[in-house]
Amino acid sequence: MKIWHFSEQAYHPAWGEPAGLRVNFPQYHCDPVEAGQLLNRYLDEYCLADELGLNIMVNEHHATATCMSTSVMTTLAILARETSKARLLALGIPLANRANPMRVAEEVALADCLSGGRIEMGLVKGVPLEVIVSNRQPTQFMDRFWEAHDLIIAAMSNLGETFSWEGEHYHIRTSALWPRPVQQPHPPVWGTASSASSARMYGARGYTCATFLSGAVARSVFTGYRDAYIEAFGKQPSADRLGYLAVVACASDRKEAYRRAEEMRKYFLAAPRFDAPFRNVMGFNPVEANLRALTAGASAMRPRLRNGEPLGPDASVEDYVSAQLMFVGTPDDVYEQLAQFNVDVGGFGNLLMMGQAGELSHADTADSLTLIAKEVAPRLAEMPDVSPLEVRYEGVG
């Protein structure tokens, strides 16, 4: 199993304000000098991850104090020069929020050249509330996503003359991509899924599929992926096609690790702080998907504790560990929890690790990363494959 260090690069100094933190949080709450200091600090931690032999994952969000990386490719372009070994995962680029997929292809190709071919290209739909920020049409989002994907892949892999593209959603007069990516025909593609049916789309294409903070739901996501992969390629996918994102807090003694986890738990409290109308923007989710979610009840798709109870909004660190959204403790504890999760979900090859989250300080982050890289990563790299589970997943969509 490979580890990818990830931080949302939050502006946590403003989290004390009694307001929603996303979409309409006024920018006068941001001290730009402090923002710059924090951004440099997060980049230092990414550089440390590279030195320690970990890989790197970056994301982007907009108009929020929970994530200051407003352009995943801008952040990765910096890290392309500042790092030397790490694979650089963009997870992801919110495709259907972008007006021109060719600009996305250019940005990825530029960073791939800069980094000597270390970019991993995650193409994602984006969160519903950020369609308000981009003001792109909420309906037909997935149609736009796949057309943008097709255009990007076509442009990156084109070794012939330039072409023009007159699609349903995108119209490109000429496709010349300068520079083109080092990795041919294109950097590895990643996607994200939170259900078996959405994972199938990536399985059918052989792309790497990750699921975020979903606990036991990851079982059905991975099963959906494997089924579609087997249908398309006639064999089991290797574990490195699958990824899971979780928070990891490590320290040489368990009590200290739980103190760090408590700082990181603040991420879970901040991320859902936004006004109710932004939760499910009209037209973003298809009618039948909304209908399934509403008739199943609010907690149906929530991660669950070991005892089957849904994870509550005010869950403790222990609850998050029980639901397998956090892995916390000494290097031995963290390894054992991850090995158990690996068995529970039928095997996965990429731990997308929030090694910094919430208000975890730089010193704590650096110490936790170092322990994980030195004492957990080598054991994860040697962890034996488990045989994939037979999981029935129809019930979770």
Partner: protein
């Protein structure tokens, strides 16, 4: 797509009609001069009180717009401009040459898109709380953004009286599907530019039949400036203010609205 019983629409028939290959849900009631009723953001189910009053004097035709309620949406239809052409085809299919057209809120926009294309297709036009004209100019906004407020707040703002909306978890699956389809259609047609066709204002001069605009004086969805913009864009229209009515004037003052429409269309026919 099969039709379902709708609360409050027990005084007529609810059928599905095929309009050039698209199944459209159509409520018919009453007798007299034909009147096409184009519903607003509250959908066909939100129009019941107004339709009940109108059916006392007119032969009312009230479709669910393509994509709303149980009506299909043709694959290529993405703008109210497209819907204008669609309804002209529907008039032909129903054998309606020039009915009275009453549009409320979003439906008034639809009516204008029809009549700017074929001005002769209405004997008279009533726009109740119309949307469709530019709703903002840079940082100045004249229509509340329904996509940025909660369902509860929207429900409360739409009329003066209390919203008698069931909350979503209490609804039957069939009812919930209609609500979600209405939401999706509003997002498709009205997301951006918000609830308008910026070109509509330059086309309204083509409307040649007698026209009346009715506003509720308690309409919490619009600013007074928006009324002024409509008056300037459609100077040929009479303007009436209904006292004690909100955006859904057909729900707050159904009898008074129907009386206004009856008087206006009678006068217009002379």
């Amino acid at each position: 797509m099969s039709t379902i019983e709708l609360d409050g629409l027990d005084f007529g028939t609810l059928d599905t009609v095929d309009i050039l290959g698209t199944d459209i849900e159509l409520f018919r009631a009453g007798s007299g001069t034909p009147l096409l009723f184009l519903h607003g953001i509250d959908g066909l189910e939100g129009s019941a009180q107004g339709l009940r009053e109108l059916a006392k004097s007119f032969s009312v035709y009230a479709p669910s717009h393509p994509g709303f309620g149980a009506s299909e949406r043709p694959a290529g239809m993405s703008r109210v401009d497209d819907m204008g052409y669609f309804y002209l085809d529907m008039l032909n299919a129903l054998g309606l040459d020039a009915p009275i057209i009453v549009g409320t809120s979003f439906g008034a926009w639809v009516a204008c898109e029809m009549l700017t294309k074929e001005p002769g297709r209405a004997r008279s036009l009533v726009l109740a709380s119309p949307l469709g004209l530019k709703t903002a100019e840079r940082r100045e906004h004249w229509v509340a953004d329904l996509f940025m407020i909660s369902k509860q707040e929207l429900g409360a703002r739409l009329q003066v009286g209390p919203a008698d909306e069931q909350s979503m978890p209490e609804m039957s699956e069939a009812r919930l599907r209609r609500v979600l389809r209405n939401d999706e259609a509003l997002s498709l047609y009205g997301w951006s530019p918000y609830m308008c066709n910026p070109k509509l204002g330059d086309r309204l001069h083509r409307i040649s039949c007698p026209a009346m605009i009715v506003w509720g004086d308690k309409d919490a969805m619009i600013e007074p400036e928006y009324r002024a913009r409509w008056r300037d864009a459609l100077p040929q229209a009479q303007v009436k203010l209904l006292s004690g009515a909100g955006h859904r004037s057909h729900a707050d003052k159904p009898a008074e609205l129907a009386t206004l429409i009856g008087q206006f269309t009678k006068g217009a026919a002379k």
